[in-house]
């Protein structure tokens, strides 16, 4: 593909099939297949229908993966999303128990998430010097704190009209309905990132904020929008989580932020900004979901999964450095 000036503007077009497989996304697909083969070997219950039925409880987090990918591309980080999920779920329970119709409950859930995200975004846009890590650390404590206060001393709240939530858990054929939600969100977020000016601006800010600012990109506005999006998607996550758990407590969503960041990084998005795409993150998310289902089926200690995810993460981030080192070593050998 050539631009107006005749200059090559796309490097992806003339990649050979081999280099495509050797790219990180190709490797992820192979790992995905390997995990599924492992699942089949480990347990005879590891069938497509079974995996899809078990999936919803792990799917919820993936909603947050997409805006988190945007945030990481901006070279920012948001560690308050888990608390936003907790607060949204709590408020949805209150709204549902107050007898509001279900569409209003959904609206409350999403709105609470959006407001929380907008608070993050507004602070970060107003005080650009502040690192996002610190601001979202504070709001992480605040949002969960508000949820704790509203839940009172019991520390838990259940959704009494559980019949309301049943439409969210229905299966469309073999697929749970939340699976379609994730796929639709994935398509929207991936297309926006790679095909629109908004997406390209994210990369511009992530690679060099000052340069992007002088090139006329409204850095603060985009930061605000992206952090608000993270809040909104946390609202979706809370909704799916509610449809599985029918309740919320003070630890709901705890650690989601780290799991989501791990998925994104595993998928090849660099935390230093400006690099990576969501396709990799999306595949990585399903690798982790399938791994969880498989290890859950053989009743493996759930905490051991933490160790495996941690090891996978570290190996994944070490890979580029190692391959670089091998390349330079080969070059050195050739020269001598």
């Amino acid at each position: 593909m050539a631009g107006k000036s005749g200059r090559e503007i796309s490097i992806a077009s003339n990649k050979s099939a081999l280099s495509r497989v050797l790219s990180w996304e190709g490797a992820l697909v192979l790992i995905f297949i390997a995990v599924n083969i492992l699942g089949v070997i480990l347990s005879e219950n590891y069938t497509a229908a079974n995996v899809l039925r078990q999936m919803p409880r792990y799917l919820a987090e993936i909603f947050i993966l997409f805006p988190m990918g945007y945030i990481l591309i901006l070279a920012d980080i948001d560690i308050s999303v888990g608390s936003i999920v907790c607060l949204s779920a709590t408020m949805a329970c209150f709204a549902g128990n107050a007898g509001l119709p279900f569409p209003v409950v959904i609206l409350v859930c999403l709105l609470v998430g959006l407001i929380c995200g907008a608070v993050n975004g507004a602070i970060l846009a107003k005080f650009t010097e502040l690192p996002s890590m610190i601001v979202t650390l504070a709001t992480q404590i605040i949002f969960r704190g508000i949820a704790e206060v509203s839940m009172g001393s019991g520390g838990t709240i259940s959704y009494t009209n559980s019949a309301d939530l049943i439409p969210l858990t229905t299966m469309a054929g073999p697929f749970p309905i939340s699976f379609f939600g994730v796929v639709i969100a994935a398509v929207i977020f991936i297309v926006v990132l790679s095909k629109t000016t908004f997406g390209r601006k994210l990369y511009a800010i992530g690679s060099n904020k000052t340069a992007a600012y002088y090139a006329g990109v409204k850095v603060e506005k985009i930061r605000f929008i992206v952090f608000s999006l993270a809040g909104l998607m946390s609202g979706f996550c809370a909704l799916v989580l509610l449809s599985v758990l029918f309740s919320a407590n003070t630890t709901t969503g705890q650690g989601f932020e780290m799991e989501v960041i791990a998925m994104a990084v595993f998928g090849g998005i660099a935390t230093t900004g400006g690099k990576g795409n969501l396709v990799g993150g999306f595949i990585a998310a399903f690798i982790i979901v399938c791994l969880r289902v498989a290890l859950g089926l053989i009743n493996m200690n759930t905490q051991l999964i933490l160790v495996i995810i941690g090891l996978m993460l570290i190996i994944a981030v070490l890979m580029p450095g190692i391959s670089q080192r091998i390349k330079t070593m080969k070059k050195m050998a050739k020269q001598s």
């Binding site: 502040l130 605040i142 160790v307």
Partner: protein, 326 residues
């Protein structure tokens, strides 16, 4: 350049404003509840926050290099769980040896962090996040669904028992050693140099990788030490112990004026920051705020402190600019 008067230097420093905040907090809390300033209460504050205080010195070093370590609470759990299990099954019951063991485990964990971050060129938050999962997961695996209770650690818990001097000695030693090392030794100044400008440090002959490695080793050492200390103070060891402590530690550093981008921060500031956070947690029930609301208020205060910091910095910059124009 004009010599600044001593008074002006003191009042302009970051630590001075922290001391004022501290004094105001103490006065308000004492007015509301006269027993706040009593020696027993103060001693309780230090004992209950010993872990945060000790580890904030290590976190200060890590933040000074421009990095971050979120695996510290997991290292603490891992080393604490090993100590707890050894006591439970009566394999090793010597308090001193158990503390040494905790420290060694911490050093190994820190060394792994340091190696991967410096030699593997991995972003600190990602590498330490991976290890956060690994050590916490291993702590669960070691525990094998058991936990060490007060009866299991009966002799060992004397060291950190209520009224014992152990935790206070450790806090004092760590802060004094941290102050001396960061202020007056080559190793300490190198940490500042790497954090201010890694490239410049490399050009001037500092082995940046080595500095990064020993910084994370210090952090790991203190986390391992706190694992052993935690078992002693709270007389129990569970795999989920001190979950989320890393955020408290980072918060006390940030309140103490440590910059997240590296190169700026001091041991005194960190100590004051940790003390302010501890006092707030202790004072809130006295002011009549429910235990449930404490987290919310704590978060708002952290946010207020960092925003205030930015606002004053902007005002100072503007004042400096105006002076230059004249």
């Amino acid at each position: 350049m004009k010599q600044k008067s001593v008074l002006k230097q003191i009042t302009k420093s970051r630590e001075f404003s922290l001391v004022i905040v501290l004094i105001v907090l103490c006065i308000v809390a004492t007015i509301l509840n006269p027993s706040f300033i009593s020696p027993t209460n103060i001693a309780q504050i230090f004992r209950n926050n010993a872990l945060t205080m000790v580890m904030s010195v290590g976190m200060l070093c890590v933040l000074l290099t421009g990095g971050i370590d979120i695996s510290v609470a997991s290292i603490l759990a891992f080393s604490g769980m090993i100590v707890g299990m050894l006591l439970k099954y009566k394999v090793l019951e010597n308090t001193f040896l158990l503390f040494v063991l905790g420290c060694v485990i911490g050093i190994v964990c820190g060394l792994l962090n340091g190696l991967i971050i410096s030699k593997g060129n991995v972003a600190p938050i990602i590498s330490t996040m991976g290890f956060m999962y690994i050590w916490r997961g291993l702590a669960y695996v070691i525990s094998n669904n058991q936990w060490a209770s007060g009866a299991d650690v009966v002799g060992y818990s004397d060291f950190g028992a209520d009224g014992a001097a152990g935790p206070y000695i450790i806090i004092a030693v760590v802060f004094i050693a941290g102050f001396i090392v960061l202020k007056w030794t080559k190793a300490g100044r190198k940490i500042y140099a790497v954090g201010s400008n890694a490239e410049a440090a490399r050009v001037s002959g500092i082995n940046v990788d080595a500095v990064l490695i020993y910084t994370y080793v210090i952090m790991g050492f203190l986390s391992g030490l706190c694992g052993a200390l935690s078992v002693s103070i709270y007389a129990s060891a569970q795999p989920n112990m001190q979950y989320g402590l890393e955020m408290d530690i980072i918060a006390s550093c940030v309140i103490g004026g440590v910059s997240m981008s590296g190169g700026r921060g001091s041991v005194v500031g960190t100590f004051l920051g940790a003390l302010i956070l501890a006092l707030i947690t202790r004072a809130l029930p006295l002011v009549g705020i429910d235990a449930i609301a404490q987290n919310m208020v704590k978060g708002i205060l952290i946010l207020a402190v960092v925003v205030l910091n930015v606002v004053t910095q902007r005002m100072m910059d503007r004042a400096n600019l105006e002076r230059r124009e004249m």
